[in-house]
């Protein structure tokens, strides 16, 4: 019967319709943002560096989706999509890219070295990897001490799993059963280094056993699969059962950074992933198949995203640069720089 089928189909949906639409929007936004900023970068109109997350949007959006607003996220430079999913304002993200005062770091850092602790509970990204992992332990420790059902989530790349800190953090979180979810965005290349040169085991997920926590490996091209694993891990953490390791596999479609042509990625691999592991296309297809969206709807989403990007770009360009005197402010809490409005007397043209 149609109703039964509908009911079955509906109960197979992991999320309410509105949430699924939001998921699609975030995937498409992430992809568009990545493409446009790369274009601007190549045109010399974007200062600094870009770190493309193209092809990994399934991981980024999927793991963040189960988080609540007060849960904390500790990402890396490649996980801007995760931060957008967590709630960062596109306008202020773009102001950050252009080094303006309205950026989240007030110009103290640029591009995806971004975070919004006071708003969306995300760590302001640092370059050293995975410097945020031990910090995530600390946040989780606080939640545990206070008996809060808040969860911390750390995202890092496959390369960062070679670093001692990664192992320390997993180890410590297991000792104390900290409410934390460890996500590894395995896009198979750490800059130019492929997986086999980064770790001696076939998968990252199987290391979880060694530390005393469950590990799961998912297909980063399937956002719903990622979401499902993340949801389970978050729920475990929230209920006091300790950490989980999620290895989400995808491919890094672009270079490590904007300057990197990534010729070390075998062409066949790239072609295959772009063809059949594109998380945005895959989810679009699924949404279309489920009847949750039609082509018109996708087109509308396209326009909306384009418009939002343009508005964000305009916002960024019209936001002033920080005042030079601000350079030495804000080191100590007592100077009050961060608890007051910043000076807006800087120029709006690039110096």
């Amino acid at each position: 019967m149609a109703t039964d089928v509908d009911a079955r189909t509906q109960s197979a949906r992991p999320l309410p319709e509105a949430e699924l639409e939001r998921m699609l929007y975030l995937l498409m936004l992430s992809r568009y943002f990545d493409e446009r900023t790369e274009a601007l970068y190549r045109q010399g109109r974007l200062p600094g560096a870009i770190y493309s997350g193209r092809g990994q949007e399934g991981t980024h959006v999927g793991v963040v989706f189960p988080l609540r607003p007060q849960d904390s996220l500790f990402p890396t430079h490649r996980d801007l999509s995760a931060q957008l999913a967590k709630g960062l304002d596109l306008k202020r993200v773009m102001a950050q890219f252009w080094g303006r005062i309205d950026g989240y770091t007030r110009g103290r850092d640029g591009n995806s070295h971004i975070g919004d602790w006071f708003g969306s509970r995300t760590w302001t990204v640092m370059s050293h990897l995975p410097i945020a992992y031990p910090v995530a332990c600390g946040a989780a420790l606080a939640y545990q001490r206070r008996g809060q059902d808040t969860v911390a989530m750390g995202i890092c790349g496959d390369g960062a799993t070679s670093n001692g800190r990664w192992h320390e953090a997993l180890n410590t979180s297991a000792i104390h059963r900290l409410p934390v979810v460890w996500v590894v965005n395995n896009n198979q290349f750490a800059y130019s280094t492929p997986n086999p040169l980064e770790f001696g085991v076939p998968t990252i997920a199987e290391r979880a056993d060694a530390y005393g926590m469950p590990g799961v490996r998912v297909d980063g091209g399937n956002v719903l699969e990622v979401y499902a694993a993340a949801k389970e891990a978050v729920d475990r953490a929230r209920s006091g059962e300790g950490p989980t390791l999620i290895e989400s596999v995808s491919l890094r479609w672009r270079g490590h950074a904007g300057h990197d042509p990534a010729k070390y990625v075998p062409k066949e691999l790239l072609d295959e992933y772009m063809a059949s592991h594109d998380p945005v296309a895959n989810f679009q297809d699924w949404m279309l198949a489920e009847g949750l969206v039609d082509q018109d709807g996708i087109a509308q989403l396209d326009s909306r995203i384009q418009r939002e990007f343009e508005e964000g770009y305009e916002f960024a360009q019209s936001s002033p640069y920080p005042e030079p005197e601000d350079a030495t402010k804000g080191l100590w809490v007592e100077d009050g720089y961060w608890t007051s409005e910043p000076g807006r007397g800087g120029p709006t043209e690039a110096p």
Partner: protein
């Protein structure tokens, strides 16, 4: 806030609170004074907690936290694995969520195992995001105890250089107590380097007022004098005071300025002293090249130029590992006789 536990007076013993470990006449050693500070601040504010290696059941390698776990429980006196990066990371993350961690490093030497977390993360979070990190890192530093290079390090220049961490090096028990309390109450990252040579060697009457604070960033004149200003900190304050006695018998009067905090520097106090004496000797246990002495000397040369009747002199060890054998260590680190000789040289210039 929990009610204050009744003070258990009497001799030291397992489970007694630090104040019970004072001498018969009520003096506290430098170590006990630090323990008192930690205890009082943990009683005062439940957000304050300690973490580090062997600080719980064992009471800490130097027994600073002896008795703490019985009073405050394992969650607030947390034993960590040997994972210095994680210790700092835990401190940062929990501080971001409103706790006030005090992380112990068994020896200050091991802070460098967490160097990245300290200098890259801890020192920079607030500047880049406005998130306060009320973190205290503490540990025993310094030499003169025949402990060789991995247990005698003076790391203050490295962490002062990071910019974003207040680096505190007290020399006297009262200062140690008041500064530790100030550090714990400070919303910025603070590092308190407790000179191990002083731990049990120096005692004095230490205030019992639980709100007794010594301001961070303020030096203190430990001995007034007229001929030469000796600017120093840590164990060398005591050696300088000893030199001062000998010098006075020979008719020379030195003023001993105890920096107490090495970053930020109390430039005004230093300048006031130079204005008085016109001669400056900077004595520092951190290495000569790019050490604390270098910074103080440059500041004096730049800001007190017109008050100087002689060049600024520095006394510091060379940039080398601290050796073990007594003859080597004694030759390596500044001694009382070295300070006397330097003062005499400076006076005769």
């Amino acid at each position: 806030m929990t009610a204050t536990q009744k003070v258990e007076a009497g001799a030291a013993g397992h489970g007694a609170e630090p104040r019970g470990k004072r001498t018969e006449d009520g003096q506290a050693t430098y170590l006990i004074a630090i323990a008192e500070a930690l205890w009082e601040e943990m009683e005062r504010d439940e957000r304050v907690y300690c973490l580090g290696e062997d600080i719980g059941a064992y009471g800490g390698a130097f027994k600073v936290t002896e008795g703490f776990i019985e009073r405050f429980g394992p969650e607030r006196v947390m034993d960590t694995p040997i994972a210095e990066e994680t210790i700092v990371g835990l401190a940062i993350g929990s501080a971001m969520e409103g706790m006030r961690p005090v992380a112990e490093f068994q020896y200050a030497d091991f802070m460098s195992s967490g160097f990245d977390m300290i200098t890259t993360a801890l020192a920079r979070v607030h500047y880049r995001s406005g998130v306060p990190l009320p973190v205290v890192l503490r540990g025993p530093s310094g030499g003169y105890v025949r402990a060789s290079s991995f247990h005698s390090t003076n790391p203050e220049p490295w962490y002062a250089h990071a910019g974003g961490i207040k680096v505190i090096c007290p020399a006297f028990p009262s200062d140690a107590k008041g500064l530790m309390k100030s550090a714990i109450r400070d919303d910025n990252p603070c590092m308190v380097l407790e000179h191990k040579w002083i731990y049990r060697r120096v005692k004095e009457h230490v205030p019992e007022d639980p709100d007794f604070l010594v301001p961070i960033g303020k030096a203190d004149v430990k001995r007034e004098g007229t001929d030469v200003s000796v600017i120093t900190y840590g164990a060398l304050v005591h050696k300088t005071l000893e030199a001062a006695e000998a010098l006075e018998r020979r008719g020379m009067s030195i003023e001993v300025v105890d920096l107490r905090t090495v970053y930020p520097l109390d430039e005004e106090a230093i300048l006031r002293s130079i204005e008085k004496t016109s001669r400056a000797l900077v004595v520092s246990e951190s290495y000569r090249y790019a050490g604390i002495g270098a910074e103080v000397s440059a500041t004096i040369a730049q800001r007190a130029f017109e008050h100087l009747d002689a060049p600024v002199e520095r006394l510091s060890p060379p940039n080398m590992p601290i050796p073990f054998s007594p003859t080597l260590e004694d030759a390596f680190l500044p001694q009382v006789s070295d300070i006397e000789a330097a003062v005499e040289r400076l006076s005769a210039w």
